[in-house]
Subunit: 167 residues, 2 copies
Protein backbone atom coordinates (compact mmCIF):
# COMPACT_ATOMS: atom_id res chain seq x y z
CA UNK A 1 0.00 0.00 0.00
CA UNK A 2 2.06 2.85 1.31
CA UNK A 3 5.76 2.72 1.84
CA UNK A 4 5.66 5.98 3.71
CA UNK A 5 4.13 5.63 7.16
CA UNK A 6 2.84 8.43 9.36
CA UNK A 7 4.67 6.94 12.32
CA UNK A 8 6.05 3.67 13.59
CA UNK A 9 3.63 3.57 16.53
CA UNK A 10 1.90 0.19 16.70
CA UNK A 11 -1.56 1.72 17.07
CA UNK A 12 -0.97 4.08 14.16
CA UNK A 13 0.35 1.31 11.92
CA UNK A 14 -2.69 -0.81 12.74
CA UNK A 15 -4.96 2.12 11.88
CA UNK A 16 -3.19 2.61 8.56
CA UNK A 17 -4.43 -0.85 7.58
CA UNK A 18 -7.76 -1.06 9.41
CA UNK A 19 -8.67 2.57 10.06
CA UNK A 20 -11.56 3.01 7.66
CA UNK A 21 -15.23 2.17 7.63
CA UNK A 22 -15.10 -1.02 5.57
CA UNK A 23 -11.95 -3.10 6.08
CA UNK A 24 -13.02 -4.62 9.37
CA UNK A 25 -16.56 -5.15 8.09
CA UNK A 26 -15.13 -7.29 5.30
CA UNK A 27 -12.99 -9.25 7.73
CA UNK A 28 -15.94 -9.64 10.08
CA UNK A 29 -18.07 -11.14 7.32
CA UNK A 30 -15.36 -13.55 6.23
CA UNK A 31 -14.58 -14.50 9.83
CA UNK A 32 -18.02 -14.77 11.44
CA UNK A 33 -20.17 -15.22 8.35
CA UNK A 34 -17.76 -17.57 6.59
CA UNK A 35 -18.29 -15.61 3.39
CA UNK A 36 -15.55 -16.57 1.01
CA UNK A 37 -16.76 -15.29 -2.38
CA UNK A 38 -17.02 -11.77 -3.74
CA UNK A 39 -20.78 -12.00 -4.29
CA UNK A 40 -21.39 -13.33 -0.82
CA UNK A 41 -19.50 -10.40 0.65
CA UNK A 42 -21.26 -8.00 -1.67
CA UNK A 43 -24.86 -8.87 -1.07
CA UNK A 44 -25.56 -10.55 2.20
CA UNK A 45 -24.57 -8.02 4.82
CA UNK A 46 -26.79 -5.49 6.46
CA UNK A 47 -24.37 -2.77 5.48
CA UNK A 48 -24.52 -3.17 1.68
CA UNK A 49 -21.00 -2.36 0.64
CA UNK A 50 -20.62 -0.99 -2.89
CA UNK A 51 -18.89 -3.27 -5.36
CA UNK A 52 -16.06 -0.87 -6.19
CA UNK A 53 -15.33 -0.31 -2.51
CA UNK A 54 -15.36 -4.05 -1.85
CA UNK A 55 -13.01 -4.60 -4.76
CA UNK A 56 -10.66 -1.94 -3.48
CA UNK A 57 -10.72 -3.26 0.10
CA UNK A 58 -10.03 -6.83 -0.99
CA UNK A 59 -7.00 -5.54 -2.91
CA UNK A 60 -5.74 -3.48 -0.01
CA UNK A 61 -6.23 -6.28 2.49
CA UNK A 62 -4.34 -8.64 0.20
CA UNK A 63 -1.53 -6.09 -0.17
CA UNK A 64 -1.46 -5.76 3.61
CA UNK A 65 -1.16 -9.52 4.00
CA UNK A 66 -4.51 -10.04 5.70
CA UNK A 67 -6.24 -11.92 2.88
CA UNK A 68 -5.24 -14.34 0.17
CA UNK A 69 -7.11 -15.12 -2.98
CA UNK A 70 -7.16 -18.38 -4.88
CA UNK A 71 -9.23 -19.88 -7.64
CA UNK A 72 -12.22 -21.95 -6.71
CA UNK A 73 -11.55 -25.39 -8.19
CA UNK A 74 -15.28 -26.02 -8.61
CA UNK A 75 -15.89 -22.93 -10.71
CA UNK A 76 -13.46 -21.53 -13.21
CA UNK A 77 -14.35 -17.95 -12.58
CA UNK A 78 -14.94 -17.95 -8.86
CA UNK A 79 -12.33 -16.80 -6.39
CA UNK A 80 -12.03 -17.86 -2.76
CA UNK A 81 -10.80 -15.31 -0.26
CA UNK A 82 -9.10 -16.62 2.85
CA UNK A 83 -7.87 -15.05 6.06
CA UNK A 84 -4.17 -15.15 6.77
CA UNK A 85 -2.78 -15.90 10.22
CA UNK A 86 -2.41 -12.14 10.76
CA UNK A 87 -6.10 -11.62 10.06
CA UNK A 88 -7.12 -14.54 12.25
CA UNK A 89 -5.22 -12.88 15.08
CA UNK A 90 -7.57 -9.91 14.77
CA UNK A 91 -10.28 -12.00 16.41
CA UNK A 92 -9.69 -10.67 19.96
CA UNK A 93 -9.75 -7.14 18.56
CA UNK A 94 -13.11 -7.75 16.88
CA UNK A 95 -14.49 -9.34 20.04
CA UNK A 96 -13.45 -6.27 22.03
CA UNK A 97 -15.03 -3.99 19.44
CA UNK A 98 -18.23 -5.98 19.70
CA UNK A 99 -18.13 -5.90 23.48
CA UNK A 100 -17.54 -2.15 23.54
CA UNK A 101 -20.27 -1.51 20.98
CA UNK A 102 -22.68 -3.63 22.95
CA UNK A 103 -22.12 -1.51 26.04
CA UNK A 104 -21.87 1.92 24.51
CA UNK A 105 -23.78 1.98 21.23
CA UNK A 106 -27.45 1.45 20.34
CA UNK A 107 -27.07 -2.11 19.08
CA UNK A 108 -29.86 -4.23 17.69
CA UNK A 109 -30.26 -6.97 20.31
CA UNK A 110 -30.39 -9.94 17.94
CA UNK A 111 -27.30 -8.73 16.09
CA UNK A 112 -25.45 -8.65 19.39
CA UNK A 113 -26.04 -12.31 20.25
CA UNK A 114 -22.80 -13.58 18.72
CA UNK A 115 -20.87 -10.71 20.26
CA UNK A 116 -22.28 -11.56 23.68
CA UNK A 117 -21.46 -15.26 23.37
CA UNK A 118 -17.90 -14.55 22.23
CA UNK A 119 -17.46 -12.08 25.05
CA UNK A 120 -18.79 -14.53 27.62
CA UNK A 121 -16.71 -17.40 26.23
CA UNK A 122 -13.55 -15.41 26.82
CA UNK A 123 -10.03 -16.28 25.58
CA UNK A 124 -10.58 -20.07 25.70
CA UNK A 125 -13.47 -19.77 23.25
CA UNK A 126 -11.48 -17.35 21.09
CA UNK A 127 -8.59 -19.79 20.89
CA UNK A 128 -10.94 -22.55 19.80
CA UNK A 129 -12.47 -20.27 17.20
CA UNK A 130 -9.06 -19.23 15.92
CA UNK A 131 -8.10 -22.88 15.57
CA UNK A 132 -11.26 -23.44 13.59
CA UNK A 133 -10.44 -20.47 11.38
CA UNK A 134 -6.97 -21.91 10.79
CA UNK A 135 -8.51 -25.15 9.60
CA UNK A 136 -11.02 -23.33 7.38
CA UNK A 137 -8.60 -20.79 5.91
CA UNK A 138 -5.11 -22.19 6.23
CA UNK A 139 -5.80 -25.89 5.83
CA UNK A 140 -4.75 -26.72 9.36
CA UNK A 141 -6.11 -29.94 10.88
CA UNK A 142 -9.47 -29.69 12.63
CA UNK A 143 -9.06 -29.70 16.39
CA UNK A 144 -12.52 -29.67 17.92
CA UNK A 145 -16.21 -29.01 17.53
CA UNK A 146 -17.24 -26.04 15.41
CA UNK A 147 -17.47 -22.81 17.33
CA UNK A 148 -18.90 -21.13 14.25
CA UNK A 149 -21.74 -23.64 14.03
CA UNK A 150 -22.31 -23.27 17.76
CA UNK A 151 -22.61 -19.49 17.46
CA UNK A 152 -24.95 -19.84 14.52
CA UNK A 153 -27.10 -22.40 16.36
CA UNK A 154 -27.30 -20.17 19.42
CA UNK A 155 -28.26 -17.24 17.26
CA UNK A 156 -30.97 -19.19 15.45
CA UNK A 157 -32.35 -20.49 18.73
CA UNK A 158 -32.77 -17.01 20.15
CA UNK A 159 -33.97 -15.70 16.80
CA UNK A 160 -36.63 -18.42 16.59
CA UNK A 161 -37.81 -17.68 20.12
CA UNK A 162 -38.27 -14.05 19.21
CA UNK A 163 -39.56 -14.60 15.70
CA UNK A 164 -36.61 -12.87 14.08
CA UNK A 165 -35.83 -13.74 10.46
CA UNK A 166 -32.51 -15.55 10.08
CA UNK A 167 -29.96 -13.66 8.04
Amino acid sequence: MEDRHRSGCPINLTLEVLGDRWSLIVIRDIMFGNRRHYRELLGRSHERIASNILSDRLKRLMDAGLLTRRDDPSHQQKAIYSLTEAAIQLLPLLVHMGAWGRRHRPVTPELAIRARLLEEGGPPLWEAFMDELRSLHLGAPVKGPSVLAGLQAAYEKVAAEQGIPTL
Copy 2:
Protein backbone atom coordinates in the same frame (compact mmCIF):
# COMPACT_ATOMS: atom_id res chain seq x y z
CA MET B 1 -23.54 12.50 14.63
CA GLU B 2 -25.74 10.32 12.47
CA ASP B 3 -29.17 9.17 13.48
CA ARG B 4 -29.28 6.76 10.57
CA HIS B 5 -27.02 3.77 11.13
CA ARG B 6 -25.80 1.32 8.53
CA SER B 7 -26.71 -1.54 10.84
CA GLY B 8 -27.22 -2.36 14.49
CA CYS B 9 -24.27 -4.76 14.55
CA PRO B 10 -22.01 -3.94 17.50
CA ILE B 11 -18.86 -4.00 15.37
CA ASN B 12 -20.42 -1.78 12.74
CA LEU B 13 -21.67 0.71 15.31
CA THR B 14 -18.23 0.86 16.87
CA LEU B 15 -16.72 1.50 13.44
CA GLU B 16 -19.19 4.30 12.80
CA VAL B 17 -17.61 6.14 15.71
CA LEU B 18 -13.98 5.00 15.53
CA GLY B 19 -13.56 3.79 11.96
CA ASP B 20 -11.35 6.50 10.55
CA ARG B 21 -7.68 7.33 10.60
CA TRP B 22 -7.67 9.93 13.37
CA SER B 23 -10.27 9.34 16.09
CA LEU B 24 -8.31 6.65 17.89
CA ILE B 25 -5.06 8.58 17.46
CA VAL B 26 -6.65 11.46 19.35
CA ILE B 27 -7.88 9.14 22.09
CA ARG B 28 -4.48 7.45 22.24
CA ASP B 29 -2.73 10.79 22.78
CA ILE B 30 -5.16 11.86 25.50
CA MET B 31 -5.00 8.46 27.17
CA PHE B 32 -1.33 7.53 26.99
CA GLY B 33 0.21 10.96 26.45
CA ASN B 34 -2.08 12.72 28.93
CA ARG B 35 -2.55 15.51 26.41
CA ARG B 36 -5.51 17.53 27.51
CA HIS B 37 -5.26 20.74 25.46
CA TYR B 38 -5.87 21.40 21.78
CA ARG B 39 -2.32 22.59 21.13
CA GLU B 40 -0.81 19.60 22.87
CA LEU B 41 -2.84 17.29 20.69
CA LEU B 42 -2.03 19.34 17.62
CA GLY B 43 1.70 19.54 17.83
CA ARG B 44 3.35 16.85 19.84
CA SER B 45 2.48 13.66 18.03
CA HIS B 46 4.53 11.94 15.40
CA GLU B 47 1.55 11.94 13.10
CA ARG B 48 0.97 15.69 12.85
CA ILE B 49 -2.77 15.95 12.61
CA ALA B 50 -4.07 19.00 10.78
CA SER B 51 -5.83 21.58 12.92
CA ASN B 52 -9.14 21.41 11.05
CA ILE B 53 -9.21 17.61 11.30
CA LEU B 54 -8.41 17.76 15.01
CA SER B 55 -11.15 20.30 15.54
CA ASP B 56 -13.62 18.13 13.66
CA ARG B 57 -12.64 14.95 15.53
CA LEU B 58 -12.90 16.59 18.93
CA LYS B 59 -16.42 17.69 18.00
CA ARG B 60 -17.42 14.25 16.74
CA LEU B 61 -15.96 12.48 19.75
CA MET B 62 -17.84 14.84 22.05
CA ASP B 63 -21.06 14.21 20.10
CA ALA B 64 -20.43 10.48 20.41
CA GLY B 65 -19.98 10.80 24.16
CA LEU B 66 -16.30 9.85 24.25
CA LEU B 67 -14.90 13.23 25.25
CA THR B 68 -16.00 16.15 27.35
CA ARG B 69 -14.71 19.68 27.21
CA ARG B 70 -14.48 22.17 30.02
CA ASP B 71 -12.80 25.50 30.57
CA ASP B 72 -9.35 25.54 32.10
CA PRO B 73 -9.70 27.56 35.33
CA SER B 74 -6.06 28.68 35.06
CA HIS B 75 -6.43 30.18 31.61
CA GLN B 76 -9.51 31.94 30.35
CA GLN B 77 -9.19 30.73 26.81
CA LYS B 78 -7.88 27.23 27.35
CA ALA B 79 -10.09 24.17 27.17
CA ILE B 80 -9.45 20.84 28.85
CA TYR B 81 -10.57 17.71 27.06
CA SER B 82 -11.36 14.68 29.20
CA LEU B 83 -12.14 11.07 28.47
CA THR B 84 -15.55 9.76 29.45
CA GLU B 85 -16.06 6.35 31.00
CA ALA B 86 -16.96 4.99 27.55
CA ALA B 87 -13.62 6.20 26.16
CA ILE B 88 -11.70 4.84 29.14
CA GLN B 89 -13.23 1.47 28.39
CA LEU B 90 -11.54 1.57 25.00
CA LEU B 91 -8.23 0.86 26.72
CA PRO B 92 -8.31 -2.91 26.13
CA LEU B 93 -9.13 -2.28 22.47
CA LEU B 94 -6.15 0.04 22.12
CA VAL B 95 -3.89 -2.45 23.88
CA HIS B 96 -5.01 -5.16 21.45
CA MET B 97 -4.41 -2.85 18.51
CA GLY B 98 -0.93 -2.16 19.80
CA ALA B 99 -0.28 -5.84 20.36
CA TRP B 100 -1.45 -6.75 16.88
CA GLY B 101 0.54 -3.96 15.28
CA ARG B 102 3.64 -5.02 17.17
CA ARG B 103 3.36 -8.52 15.73
CA HIS B 104 2.22 -7.77 12.22
CA ARG B 105 3.38 -4.29 11.24
CA PRO B 106 6.82 -2.69 10.85
CA VAL B 107 6.80 -0.85 14.16
CA THR B 108 9.57 1.41 15.38
CA PRO B 109 10.96 -0.52 18.39
CA GLU B 110 11.09 2.38 20.82
CA LEU B 111 7.54 3.40 19.99
CA ALA B 112 6.43 -0.12 20.84
CA ILE B 113 7.79 -0.11 24.39
CA ARG B 114 4.58 1.07 26.03
CA ALA B 115 2.53 -1.32 23.91
CA ARG B 116 4.74 -4.19 25.01
CA LEU B 117 4.51 -3.29 28.70
CA LEU B 118 0.74 -2.94 28.56
CA GLU B 119 0.45 -6.24 26.72
CA GLU B 120 2.68 -8.00 29.24
CA GLY B 121 0.89 -6.45 32.20
CA GLY B 122 -2.39 -7.94 31.02
CA PRO B 123 -5.86 -7.17 32.39
CA PRO B 124 -4.67 -6.43 35.96
CA LEU B 125 -2.44 -3.63 34.68
CA TRP B 126 -5.21 -2.37 32.40
CA GLU B 127 -7.61 -2.19 35.30
CA ALA B 128 -5.11 -0.20 37.32
CA PHE B 129 -4.55 2.12 34.39
CA MET B 130 -8.27 2.57 33.85
CA ASP B 131 -8.64 3.48 37.52
CA GLU B 132 -5.91 6.04 37.11
CA LEU B 133 -7.66 7.45 34.04
CA ARG B 134 -10.87 7.70 36.05
CA SER B 135 -9.08 9.78 38.65
CA LEU B 136 -7.43 11.96 36.02
CA HIS B 137 -10.49 12.48 33.84
CA LEU B 138 -13.55 11.86 35.96
CA GLY B 139 -12.30 13.10 39.31
CA ALA B 140 -12.48 9.67 40.90
CA PRO B 141 -10.31 9.07 43.98
CA VAL B 142 -6.76 7.92 43.33
CA LYS B 143 -6.38 4.22 44.03
CA GLY B 144 -2.76 3.31 43.52
CA PRO B 145 0.63 4.18 42.07
CA SER B 146 0.69 5.83 38.66
CA VAL B 147 0.73 3.35 35.81
CA LEU B 148 1.18 6.23 33.39
CA ALA B 149 4.32 7.42 35.18
CA GLY B 150 5.57 3.83 35.30
CA LEU B 151 5.14 3.43 31.57
CA GLN B 152 6.84 6.73 30.93
CA ALA B 153 9.74 5.83 33.24
CA ALA B 154 10.18 2.46 31.56
CA TYR B 155 10.15 4.14 28.19
CA GLU B 156 12.74 6.71 29.23
CA LYS B 157 14.94 4.04 30.73
CA VAL B 158 15.05 2.03 27.50
CA ALA B 159 15.28 5.20 25.45
CA ALA B 160 18.25 6.42 27.47
CA GLU B 161 20.01 3.08 27.09
CA GLN B 162 19.63 3.32 23.37
CA GLY B 163 20.28 7.03 23.03
CA ILE B 164 16.79 7.73 21.71
CA PRO B 165 15.42 11.26 22.12
CA THR B 166 12.45 11.42 24.48
CA LEU B 167 9.25 12.60 22.87
